[in-house]
């Protein structure tokens, strides 16, 4: 019962934030945090919770973003249509890739998804006349001109996607995923169709990431190859693992933390990314299970003293 207090608290904070925070810059950051929270936690469903480490998340995020961007740029399709479509396209990609990639396990899966993630960027380069190449497409329709409205939209999206993720993991479906993570052979032995669960979970994860990617595109008014590159996949994995693999909440929190860190580091434009990636390495070394488990157990120890 105590757990739901925390959720309610977080929800409340999420909802009332714009009433207390007047700075437009910070609200913009919070929107980004909400989006990244979905990026990271959707990865964690497959990576941490089911134990299938995928370096292909940029396929879904970028895929959703480009779906939205292309539809909006060329056909003026409005955001409330492109965003679900972005999710669907990403889900289709996840199905296609999952059917092949999830045949292999562990480290091999990571390699395969990494290689797969390199494909779409090359495609945007080959078809640069349509995709805008390295510059991407600009002038995408905004979700709303009012930043507070955009914030509430992003918060709603986070609650929706996060809610789906939390519901899945706390259900018996989630238990199956955990058993797959812990011992695939034993899971198969008790009759679980491991392959089916993996693919379905992969598709769900891709769908959520695609929706968030499409939302991101409309938020930035621009879509480019940056979110499609394998390097972005790597960043997503690192940010999520730094938060805490398998916790769903952990990656959301690390998303918030790291987005704010990134912005705070603006004072040193030259060294910003170096410090940022360095901090990630340090987090991984000091808290191998992630920030959220480390902080949670730290709080537990203090409380029980």
């Amino acid at each position: 019962m105590g757990k739901y207090v925390y959720f309610a608290l977080a929800l409340a904070m999420l909802l009332v934030a714009p009433m207390f925070i007047k700075s437009r810059v910070i609200i913009d950051l919070l929107i980004l945090c909400n989006i990244y929270a979905i990026f990271l936690s959707s990865w964690d469903l497959v990576g941490g919770y089911t134990g299938q480490i995928s370096f292909g998340h940029s396929l879904f995020i970028g895929g959703g973003a480009y779906t939205a961007g292309l539809l909006n740029y060329y056909f003026q399709v409005p955001p409330y249509v492109t965003i679900p479509l972005g999710g669907i396209v990403a889900a289709a990609l996840a199905l296609l890739i999952g059917v092949f990639a999830l045949r292999v396990k562990g480290a091999y899966l990571a390699l395969v998804t990494f290689a797969a993630a390199a494909v779409p960027v090359t495609l945007t380069a080959i078809f640069w006349e349509y995709s805008g190449g390295d510059d991407g497409l600009s002038g995408i329709s905004p979700l709303s001109v009012d930043v507070v409205t955009r914030y509430y939209l992003s918060a709603a999206l986070l609650v929706l996607c996060g809610g789906i993720l939390i519901f899945i993991t706390r259900s018996s479906y989630g238990l199956v995923l955990l058993s797959i993570r812990d011992n695939e052979t034993a899971s198969m032995a008790v009759g679980i169709d491991v392959r089916k669960y993996k693919v379905i979970t992969f598709v769900i994860s891709g769908f959520l990431a695609g929706i968030a990617g499409a939302f991101y595109c409309h938020n930035q008014l621009h879509v480019g190859p940056a979110e499609l590159k394998p390097a972005f996949s790597v960043l997503v994995v690192l940010m999520a693992v730094a938060g805490g693999m398998g916790t769903i909440i952990g990656p959301m929190l690390s998303g918030y933390f790291l987005i704010f860190l990134n912005d705070w580091l603006r004072f040193s434009e030259n060294y910003k990314m170096m410090i940022y990636t360095g901090v990630i390495v340090i987090i991984l070394l000091v808290c191998p299970r992630g920030l959220y488990p480390a902080i949670a157990s730290g709080i537990k120890r203090v409380v029980h003293k």
Binding site: G51, I53, F100, A101, R103, V104, K105, G106, A107, Y108, A110, L111, V112, F114, A115, A116, A118, V119, T122, A125, I126, R181, P230, A231, V234, L235, V237, L238, V241, N270, Y271, M273, M274, Y276, T277, G278, I280, V281, L284, L285, P288
Partner: protein
């Protein structure tokens, strides 16, 4: 006919570089059971270190080569000792921490050298005529020559010397190797050192032809993945064959279609392998989770 010869020669050069790069990656996996995702960083780092040695420090060609390659070897030892060994029981953790380091080092290089591609001067600034009609940079033929020589040296080292045979032993049966008194941890250090040296040499010799960029560690890494998936683990022959197949495929696609399309080759090969024979490449070693 001229085109065919072009493909033969350019394919050989490309494959040679890929052999140097993927041998180390494959060896680390075959012997230590880990995927070092910072492997591409040795390739990139050597090129940049070489650049600095030549241009900023004014060291000669040979000394710059030695310094840059040895530097990568040392980097490998540091990564192994401080980052890989603490988590070596979990293959996933090794991948995560090494990719985090690779990411970080890319940013270090970016900060130090800026985002502009760095150009290195070719060792021999000439074009050669090979096999009668193929016009190719001397630098690329040099790279090919070095690849062949190093492959032979590595083969002799592994099959004839004591440390080399220790590597083989650990790859075949880690426990058995312990029984006969071989310390696997020492062998792991040796293997990652060799991997870094090979990758570093590849970087030094090919960078003059393609330039040095901070993100040049990503595409070769993807290629190494394809080699491991196609060629199977650890065995020299499988890796060399896979590197040859991938190298030649890329060159053929590059000539026939475009160089952009050739970037898709590693993935397409992985796809084909997965579609037709994924079980054939499941490792004899349990995959780590």
């Amino acid at each position: 006919m001229g085109l065919l010869l072009d493909i033969v020669v350019y394919g050989a050069v490309q494959s040679g570089i890929y052999v140097l790069l993927s041998l180390g990656f494959s060896l680390t996996f075959g012997v230590a059971g880990i995927f070092n995702l910072a492997h591409g960083t040795f390739y990139m780092g050597a090129a940049y270190l070489f650049y600095s040695c030549m241009n900023s420090l004014g060291l000669g060609l040979s000394l710059s080569l030695v310094v840059s390659v040895t530097g990568m070897g040392l980097l490998a030892l540091i990564i192994q000792k401080w980052f890989i060994n603490p988590v070596i029981h979990s293959g996933i953790s090794v991948m995560i921490i090494t990719v985090a380091i690779a990411n970080f080092l890319e940013q270090v290089v970016l900060c130090t050298y800026g985002p502009v591609d760095r150009n290195l001067n070719s060792f021999i600034d000439k074009k050669l005529l090979v096999l009668g009609t193929v016009s190719i940079d001397a630098q690329r033929m040099l790279a090919l020559g070095v690849s062949i020589i190093l492959l032979a040296v590595l083969y002799i080292f592994i099959s004839k010397t004591k440390p080399g045979r220790a590597i083989l032993a650990v790859a075949q049966d880690r426990e058995g190797a312990i029984f006969v008194g071989i310390d696997p941890l020492k062998v792991f250090f040796l293997v990652i050192f060799i991997a870094a040296i090979l990758a570093g040499i590849a970087g030094d010799f090919i960078a003059p032809t393609i330039g040095a960029r901070p993100d040049m560690w990503l595409k070769p890494l993807t290629m190494c993945f394809a080699v491991v998936i196609l060629g199977g683990l650890g065995s020299l022959t499988g890796t060399v064959l896979a590197a040859l197949i991938i190298g030649y495929s890329e060159v053929i696609v590059s000539f026939a279609l475009s160089s952009y399309m050739s970037e898709l080759v590693p993935f397409v090969i992985i796809l084909i392998v997965l579609a037709f024979k994924p079980s054939g490449l499941m490792p004899a070693r349990q995959s780590q989770t």
